[in-house]
């Protein structure tokens, strides 16, 4: 293996480990199905423990490690962001939204349970994310916990993820240009990535300058993620991704790939990945995996 291959192998192993850690944490902090409302608690676990790349918790853990944040605190924020990400998937998959049957290679929550339970399970995952963040174990300072709550609510709201989802739903009826597609993606997927990356300096009380730098990294990373996701939708198979593919074109949605073509989109993703890596270079060897991740995504298969 050359140096890049070695780094990618290390990255893959680190991603797997982070995934295991956050799953164990979620298993610990999600309510055990009990009593008459056990069904919704089962659905929460079904959705969130179904696997997945766990990219967001990984980003958060890597960002927190730069500032020496104790692992229990990091894990709580990582569990919260994965709960929010999963809630968004559960609601986006609903018949009235994307109407998807498969997610992470398994039946979506409303298929495995029913629509009402899926709506409630999504609501409950969003709710528990804030409960975890605000809990005393997340950080001894209330100001830090409240700041994390504010950041996550901002990233998840109508000026963030929900706004992006609303735009995405309306996308087929608009003739979006490149700028609007970038804005959509910055909100829909980018805002949560920003939360993951700034959570580190917030938990580490590192100050505004570090928050700014990690946010810059997150913005470039988010676009790399979205472009490579769009490329997958065009080029890959359901077998590899574990979800429906070819849906963007079918629905007439503009993406950076449909706008610029496969080769130009790939070139742009590479450029952004290199810039993201450069943004965190000054953190030295502690940032190796953060630097490798966007480059790794250029070759993603799911």
């Amino acid at each position: 293996m050359n140096q890049t291959e070695t780094e990618f192998a290390g990255l893959a192993a680190a991603l797997t480990n982070a995934g295991k850690d956050v799953e164990a944490a979620l298993d610990r902090w999600l309510p055990a199905p009990a009593g008459l409302q056990g069904r919704v608690q089962e659905a929460m676990r079904y959705a969130v423990l179904a696997g997945g790349k766990r990219l967001r918790p990984f980003l958060l853990m890597q960002s927190a490690a730069l500032f020496g944040v104790p692992s229990e605190r990091t894990l709580r924020a990582a569990a919260a962001i994965e709960a929010v990400h999963t809630y968004s998937l559960v609601h986006d998959d609903l018949p009235c939204m994307d109407d998807d049957d498969l997610r992470r290679g398994q039946p979506t929550a409303h298929r495995a349970f029913d629509e009402a339970t899926a709506v409630l399970a999504g609501d409950a995952l969003l709710t528990i994310a804030f409960e975890i963040l605000a809990g005393a174990e997340t950080h001894p300072l209330g100001d830090v916990r409240a700041k994390l709550v504010s950041e996550l609510a901002g990233a998840g709201g109508t000026l963030g993820m929900i706004g992006g989802q609303m735009i995405d739903i309306e996308a087929p009826v608009h003739a979006f240009g490149v700028d609007e597609v970038i804005q959509l993606q910055r909100l829909k997927t980018g805002a949560l990535f920003e939360f993951c990356c700034v959570a580190g300096p917030i938990l580490g009380e590192a100050g505004a300058e570090h928050e700014r730098r990690l946010r810059d990294y997150a913005r470039d990373f988010g676009l790399v993620f979205q472009i490579t996701d769009d490329l997958l939708d065009v080029l890959s198979t359901t077998e590899k991704t574990g979800k429906a593919v070819g849906k963007d074109a079918e629905q007439g949605k503009a993406t950076l790939v449909s706008w610029r073509g496969v080769d130009a989109a790939r070139a742009q993703a590479k450029e952004l990945a290199l810039r993201a890596a450069d943004t965190v270079a000054s953190y030295g060897s502690g940032a190796t995996l953060l630097q490798a991740l966007p480059l790794y995504l250029l070759n993603r298969e799911n």
Copy 2:
């Protein structure tokens, strides 16, 4: 007018004023519809500014007034609880849940907009509630803001409101006894009332003993609210309530009224209302409206 009638007239006026104050606050803190995601922001405003009794903000304001909490702080918590209450109505009204066409005398959010927008608007109202609570203007101490977030998330989660809604959905297939009906109602509607009442002593940093007393009041109040709500469902008309009636019986749902009969349910509600009033009697004249409210509900028409 006798003394009771005078008190009730004062209460009605105070409820109206509290409603106006919280609507003005929500109007100020909800995002103005703008940009490509304006539709979901419009739906949030449509749902939350459509009127309603504003009982929860009123309870919160009365509870906060006992401890001299400044009005701006109180209003932020009141706006947050009304946003959460409204999100729960928007999601409960969805076709996959109660499938209601009318709410507060107007088309439900998914009828006025569409299902996808209603799901997202509910999600966004829940999200912004936490953003408002965690904001620095809510209280100078981060610990207080984080505690409010924890309390609201607990009250709104699967051990609170969402759990109650899950049980309610499954209710028709169970043969519920009185204990299970009380548990359902304590979760589904009671948990948020508890938040409203303990938010006062939390904002006022009054300590655990006051929190306990207000929580006791809230539990009795919540049952009075639910019993009188069930009585309305049996006895009133859509014209008066602004929503569908007779649905519990139609769906075969057990309520305290169906279990005990109208007269016994009414008698129990009165007993609980008197006990609630007694619980806060020691706060003196500042608690007059809190004392009157559960008694007022005994004669509610909507």
